[in-house]
Structures are given as C-alpha cells and as structure tokens.
C-alpha cells in the first residue's frame, strides 16, 4: 500500500498515522486511532453522526479524507470533557434526557459546541437550523433543543 503519512492534532494531542489516499477521516479516527465515539450512520454526509470540528469548521468526517488532516486541529467528542468534569453540553444532555439510544449524541454534541462557539445566544429557530445536519430518530429533537438552550445559558454565565 502506498500509505500517506499524516501528522495532525486531535483533541489537543499530537497524532500520526498512515492512510490510503482514499481513506476517509472517519475511517482513520475509528479504525486506525480507535476514536470510536465518532459514529457512522451513513458514510455519505447525510446524518451528522460522524461530526467533528476541523480547525474551526464543523464537518462530516465521512466526507473528509484522512490525508486532509495534515497539520490541522481536530476536535471529537472524546475531547469535550475535562477529566471527569463534563462539558456543560454533555451535562445538560444528561439532565434533559436528550438522548435515548445515544448513537446520534456525539455528533449532536460536536455540532452544538460549534454552534454555540459561533452564536452563544441562539434562538430556538437558530438551534433547530444549526442542528439540521444531524439526524436523531429517537427523541423528536425536543429535549435536544432544550438541552442546548440550557447549556448555552450556563456557558454564557446567565
């Protein structure tokens, strides 16, 4: 195999790997680096379960090549908590029962983190449109939206 050597930063830690030219970042994260918190629901960019933040952009890691990670910063769900202190979004997802099966949760947490970084005080509609790239089949989104609203107010210190 003609492997491409990639050097990158994941959740603040330096990481290196070899990958095929056509291997997706999702495959690299899950299969090569063991970051199984990044989920695959479709592999075609339609469900958002594989969401990660690449530098400061929210992306579907199934639509990004592993080789594109070279020299970039990647944030996944595994990097959200500080030790045993959960990120406010994680805490509020638990308190509001914003997950049932939980397979969509890592993607939603990452998408919500990106949303709140750009818009710390979103309206309900802004949350709904901001999270429209993430599918959840269990919850009907109600409790997810409430959890994000609540986390946003905690993060603003309100």
């Amino acid at each position: 195999m003609a492997g491409i050597a990639v050097s990158t930063t994941i959740n603040g830690d330096h990481a290196e790997f070899l990958c095929h030219p056509d291997e997706t970042l999702l495959e690299v994260l899950r299969e090569r680096l063991g970051l199984m918190g990044v989920k695959e629901g479709c592999g075609t960019g339609d469900c958002g379960a594989c969401s990660v933040i690449l530098d400061d952009r929210l992306v579907c890691s199934c639509l990004v090549l592993g080789a594109e990670a070279e020299g970039r910063q990647i944030a996944t769900v595994e990097g959200m908590a500080q030790g045993d202190r959960l990120h406010p979004l994680q805490q509020k997802f638990l308190e509001h029962a914003a997950l049932q099966c939980g397979i969509c949760t890592p993607g939603f947490l990452i998408a919500a983190k990106d949303l709140l970084a750009k818009n710390p005080d979103p309206t309900e509609e802004e949350i709904r449109f901001g999270l429209a790239g993430n599918l959840c089949r269990c919850t009907g989104y109600d409790k997810i939206v409430r959890a994000v609203q609540d986390a946003a107010s905690v993060m603003r210190g309100a």
Binding site: H20, R30, L35, M36, G37, V38, K39, E40, G41, C42, G43, T44, G45, D46, C47, A49, T76, V77, E78, M80, A81, L86, Q90, F93, L94, E95, H96, A97, L99, Q100, C101, G102, I103, C104, T105, P106, L109, E124, E125, I127, R128, F129, L131, A132, G133, N134, L135, C136, R137, C138, T139, G140, Y141, D142, K143, I144, V145, R146
Partner: protein, 750 residues
C-alpha cells in the same frame, strides 16, 4: 404473581423521579460501545453481495475468482447455510432472507458474502463473484400484487384463513377476520355513512445505527456473537438453529443499540457472519452500509385500506367495516392480522368487522415497526371518523368521546377491556389549551386516537447484593431508550434504598435465563415485574439473615425503607439493620445474597393515546409545516417520566415523518430509488416544533406499580392527526400517505 390491587393509591419514593441514567456518561463521552465499536484480534471484514433484481432465478454463482483474490479468506453462498429448519416455514423464510437460495426476491436480497483481511479487499472481491440471473416478472405495489393476474412470487403460497382452501397459489398469504354483530344490518340502519379508500406507503424504521456484528466461531464448536439487537436471546436461538450450533455454546452479547424500533428483532447478517467465521476460522466483523439497511432490512408494510362507517343522527356509530391489505415483502408475515385487530380498538361498537389480507410483493421482508400495522389502520379509520363527525354535525372530539370504548367494552378484536385510557385522553385533549388556540390562514388542526396492545413475555432477572451493600441488577431485555434507569428505580423502590446504590446491566445469553426481545413495549413493563419479584426474593433472604444476626425468629423481622426491623415486645429495642450491614455480614451468615426471578409477564395493559396537530399548508407549493403538536397518552404509571415523555415525542416525530414525507420509491424496474438518508429524508430538527406531552396514569391492575408499556402507542395517531390537520387546512380529504407536496397539490387540483 398476584399483586395487591390497592397499589393505585400507594405512594412511591424512587419510582416517578427523574434521575440521570446509569449509562449516560458513557454515551455523552463517546465511550459507550455500539454494534460497530467492537473489534477482535485477527478479525476479518465481511461484506454481502446483493441482488440488483427484484425477482430472478439464480442460475449459477461462480465464486472461484473471488476465492482466489489475495486477502480473501472465505466466500459463502446459500450452499454454506444448509437448510436445517426441519419444516419450520418461518425459520426457512428467515434463512432464505439471510441468503437467497433459489431466487432473488427483491432488490437487495443477499446472494453471497466474503470475508477478507480488510474492507477494501472484501469490496473488491464482491465484484469478482459472478451471478447468473434469469429475470422474472416482478410486482412491488400492494394492490397490483393483490390482483388475480399478478406475477406470482411464491408458488407454494395458498391463502390461509379462507374456506375452502383456494385451488391456486396467489400472492395473498393470509386472510384474517375480526369483529362481532351484524355489520350489514347496522350499516343499512345508519343515517350517515362514510366510505373511503386510503393508501399508505412503505417506510423504514430509520435507526441511525446500521446493523453490525462481530462473529467468532471456534473450531471447538463454541461461538461468540457481539451484535446490536433488540433481543440477543432470540438472535441466539435463530442463529443456533440456522447454523446447527447448540444454543448453550453460542454466547450472544448485545452491544449498546443505536435505535431499533422493531427493525432489530430479526436476524439478517448475523447468520452470514457466523457462516463466514466458521469457514474462515477467524472472527468476522460485518457492518451494513446505509444503502444495505434501506434495501434489505426493515421496512414496514405499504397498505391499501377500505373503510366504511355508519352513524345515527345522535352520533352513535352503528356499524364499522374495514378491509385492510398489507404488503409483507416476499414472505408471509402476520402484519395484516394485527392491523385488522387494532383498526377499531378505540371504539365501543355493536357491529364491527375487519378483514385483513397479507400480500406478498418483491420488496424486502417487512419487520415490525413500532406498534406494527396499527398506524396505517388508525390513519384510515380516524380519517373516516373525522369525516363522519362532520356529516353528523358533531365536534371531532365529542364524537369520539361519545363512541369511545370503556371498561367492560368488548373490543373489536375480541377481549373485554379492563380499566382503559381512551376516554380520559380524549377528555384531556378536549380541555387542552392547544385545542382552543386560534389558527391563521392556510392552517388546520387535526386530532386522532390510537391504540396498542403491549406485550409481556418471558423474562428473567437477577439481583445480586454486593458485600458493600450496592446492588447489581442483571436484566435480559435490551435497553433501547433508558430502561436501565427505570429498572434501577424499581429495584431501589422495592428494596427501599437509593437509586445510586443500584447498577443495572444487560446480561449476555450465557449469564442469564432466556428473555424475549425488547418489543411490544415490554422492556420496562416485564423487566420491572421481574425486578420487583427478584427484589422481594432478596428481601426474604435479607430478613432471614437479620433474624440470624439477632438470633430471633424470622417472622419477627420486617423490611422497611431499606432496613430490617425487629418487631414484637421482646425485640422492639433492637436497632434496625441496614441492607449494607446485613450484606457486610453475609460471608458469615450463609454466603452471597441474591434474588432471582423467572416469569412470563402476563397482563400487559393496553394503551391509548390522543394527539393534536396544527399544520400550515402552502397552497402554491403543497409544502407543509407542523406548527404545534401535543401528545396525550396513558402510561399506567410513569416509572421515569422524562423517558416516558421521550417515547411519546419520538413516536410522534416518526409518525410525522411518515405522514408527510417518508416513503420507499420503486422504479418500474423494481429497484429502490431512494436508499439513503438524503433521498428518504427523515424529519430533521428544523422540520419539527417542540412536542408537548401529557402523561395520564390509569394504573394497569396486572402490574404491581400499575405500569403499562409506553414505547409504541405514540406512533399510532400521528398519521391520522396530521392527515386530519392537512385535510382541515386545505378543505380536501387526504387519502394517501405520505402527504408530500406533489400529492397535496394533486389533491387540491382534483
């Protein structure tokens, strides 16, 4: 198990609270392991080759090139899964569905599989398998398949349930009939009659996690299977039977499950993964693509339903009649029967008849989807009921209240109801502020009722008390949406200890007795029953140990709020012993303390819901927007109310997607044209409003805490509630689900 029926008035300390679920932290930190999140040393990757044809004879499969491809370790076809079903036709159908034997019966039907050193090699190898097909005429539409001249899918199918037995094979595998009274006489007497035909399209459960498993068959005859499933014990039985393994030698571990909704109740890829592993002598991981999930798993039935209902001037329904045709894929199923049973279950009817037909089509084998078959029947019936109310000149809610079933009503499907919630949900809706809110231009409001049986089934639970006084609860019903939290609450309640002292886990098939799968809304209902009885058994032992520690007769020891209490004049001043103290002494008082329970959880209470929907329709484009949605449902007793609300909201959202957008679209070539989330399109966050919920608690007399199943009923009313809202908004009766923009425009122009 007999229970004290006075529980309705009891007060609870843990049950009814809303603590954080025990599996929560792992799920928000990415540590929880789902089907695809598990690997074994030396594992191979399996992939399945699927038929591109809707109906074809498989003339020949040449796997030789694939077998020789570097990195390929095994190739299997039907020949590697010999028929061991011994005349069990439903198991034979499962086997044939896992791997086509003589004919490919739908676009997506598995025909061969490979295991290779990596996914890329496996994928390449699939292309080297040569399958020679002889195309046959196909049929994918339920009405066309029902017709006498339709292409025949299975020449051994003769309609059952008709007398005399038909002399020729057809695509109608079963006719079933329910009801009582004289429908024709009743209809003749009616002052008003509504008769309509309705259609619903096929939908998929749409769980976000694709099917995934890791199979490991060892040369000593033992095997392990890691899999996302709603029922690992059932998977073990099916896989063991299909592979010729002894059940006790196959250990199945259920992973965290990323949604099922009925779609993970049947084996598909698991027997194939086991066959590959057996042949290759190595573990095999098999994960479906989303395309495969759509083409080969799920879905629910497409239907076509005739409804006729007659009412008297005073609003009494005098007769109700329905004929329901349900597609079931290329194999017989039992879906139409269930539709026929549920259709009129909400009402008190003197004369009622439902006839269900199960129809074979060249589409994937249908699987249960949340209250399977009930939503379509409710769509047809509740649409006709709305129209009839208008004809009679009554309010839609009042008309339903007048005709609602009550305790003592003989249900249209046979039994006599105990205490039920249909009347109370209707009264709650009548008084709900949502019903009184004003509507704007192009907006409409609809409401509808729904019913589901709920199920109990075989259940086995172990409750082990650790020496440190914490409790581990091992259950065998897969947790699909928070049941470990509810069952921990129940154990805490019964033992009189803190929720935090209990940890519930899902045990694998080698660690616990048999459990039916988590379906029929049975997870919390049945496992809580078993947990209560296991806890009561543990309490017996705890009391005996306390008696021993105090050296007093066990009859003088009671159990109160997590403590053994000595009773009677002579022992009254002994200080209470806590569960923790008794547990700490267990090593010297007789060993470990545990309670077990094995039950058939009879008496699942039926459940009813009424939903309200406001919708806006753009008359130019036919686009719709749900503005407001309210769910009122009877839970019996809500063990963890937040998760009960979640079930209500999730079912409503799925029903809204079904009502407005989701459908399987087949081309003339019999191929599925929208096998992906982009083109199938389930509701996204911006499609929906907040979903308001109201939990009613009409205790189930057969459960010690009054619990009824809550998981499924919530998907029954939405199709009709949304259709009634759209019909009211546009002034035309909608008869075809989903009400996608083109269908709404067509209805407006008709």
């Amino acid at each position: 198990m007999t229970f004290d029926p006075s529980h309705a008035a009891r007060s609870f300390s843990s049950v009814g609270t809303r603590p954080i679920r025990p599996d929560g932290v792992d799920k928000v930190t990415g540590r929880a392991r789902y089907g695809a999140d598990f690997n074994m040393p030396g594992q191979l990757i399996g992939r399945i080759l699927r038929s591109p044809h809707a109906h074809a004879v498989i003339r020949k499969i040449d796997t030789s090139k694939a077998e020789q491809f570097p990195g390929v370790k095994a190739v299997v076809t039907a020949a590697d899964l010999p028929d061991l079903t011994d005349g069990d036709t439903s198991m034979y159908d499962i086997l044939d569905n896992c791997m086509a034997r003589n004919k490919a019966l739908y676009d997506g039907h598995a025909v061969a599989a490979v295991a290779a050193i990596d996914a890329r090699t496996a994928k390449q190898a699939l292309k080297l398998i040569d399958v020679e097909y002889e195309l046959l005429p196909h049929v994918t539409d339920v009405d066309q398949a029902f017709a006498a001249d339709a292409p025949l899918i299975n020449e051994t199918i003769f309609t059952t349930g008709v007398d005399p037995k038909p002399d020729r094979a057809s695509n109608v595998s079963m006719r079933s009939q329910f009801g009582h009274g004289d429908v024709d006489a009743g209809m003749a007497e009616a002052d008003f009659v509504v008769a309509r035909t309705f259609k619903t399209e096929q939908t998929h459960q749409g769980y976000i996690e694709p099917h995934a498993c890791v199979a490991n068959v060892s040369s000593d005859g033992t095997a392990d299977l890691w899999v996302c499933t709603q029922g690992h014990f059932v998977y073990r039985q099916h896989c063991a039977q299909l592979l010729g393994l002894e059940a006790s030698r196959l250990r199945v571990t259920s992973s965290e499950i990323g949604g099922g909704f009925g779609g993970k109740t049947h084996v598909w890829a698991e027997p194939v993964a086991l066959a590959l592993s057996r042949k290759a002598g190595r573990p095999v991981k098999l994960v479906m693509t989303r395309d495969e999930v759509f083409r080969a798993t799920g879905p629910t039935s497409a239907t076509s339903i005739d409804v006729k209902i007659g009412a008297m001037k005073d609003g009494t329904i005098i007769a109700a009649d329905a004929t329901l045709r349900y597609s079931c894929g290329p194999y017989a199923g039992s879906w139409a029967e269930v539709g026929a049973m549920t259709a009129f279950a909400c009402y008190k009817l003197e004369n009622v008849r439902t006839v269900g037909y199960e129809v074979l089509v060249n589409r994937p084998k249908t699987a249960a989807y949340r209250a399977p078959s009930a939503p379509m029947a409710a769509f047809a019936v509740e649409s006709a009921i709305d129209e009839l109310a208008k004809k009679v000149g009554m309010d839609a809610v009042d008309f339903r209240i007048k005709n609602a079933a009550q305790e003592g009503t003989k249900a249209s499907y046979g039994p006599v109801y105990g205490p039920i919630g249909i009347g109370p949900t209707l009264e709650a809706v009548k008084n709900h502020p949502h019903m009184k809110a004003s509507l704007g231009k192009n907006q409409g409001r609809g409401m509808a009722c729904g019913f589901w049986f709920n199920f109990g089934g075989q259940t086995c639970t172990d409750l082990n008390i650790g020496m440190d006084g914490t409790v581990s609860l091992a259950v065998g019903t897969v947790d699909v949406g928070g049941s470990r939290a509810s069952l921990s609450l129940v154990a805490a309640e019964e033992l009189g200890i803190d929720y935090a002292q209990v940890r519930a886990v899902i045990a694998d098939t080698s660690s616990l007795g048999y459990n039916d799968m988590t379906d029929g809304s049975r997870g919390t209902f049945s496992s809580s029953m078993a947990t209560i009885s296991a806890a009561r058994n543990a309490i017996k032992i705890l009391r005996a140990r306390a008696a021993q520690m105090w050296d007093i007769p066990v009859e003088d020891v009671t159990w109160e709020k997590g403590h053994a209490v000595a009773k009677g004049e002579t022992h009254g001043n002994l200080p209470n012993l806590s569960l923790k103290e008794i547990a700490a002494a267990s090593g010297t008082t007789g060993g470990p303390i545990a309670g077990h329970s094995e039950i058939v959880a009879d008496g699942a209470g039926v459940s009813f819901a009424t939903h309200i929907c406001d919708i806006e329709v753009d008359p130019e484009t036919g686009a719709t927007k749900v503005l407001r949605y309210t769910v009122v449902q009877d839970a019996g007793k809500a063990v963890h109310p937040t998760y009960v609300e979640g079930q209500y909201q999730g079912g409503a959202a799925q029903g809204i997607g079904w009502a407005l957008n989701e459908e399987y679209i087949y081309g003339k070539d019999g191929r599925l044209q929208n096998a992906g989330f982009l083109d199938y399109r389930i509701p996204v966050c911006s499609d929906l409003p907040m979903i308001d919920t109201q939990i009613l608690e009409i205790p189930n007399p057969n459960h010690p805490y009054g619990v009824r199943g809550v998981g499924e009923t919530s998907i029954v009313p939405p199709l009709a509630a949304v259709a009634n809202a759209v019909s009211n908004a546009v002034g035309v009766r909608m008869q075809h689900i989903p009400m996608s923009p083109p269908r709404i425009l067509a209805a407006l122009e008709a």
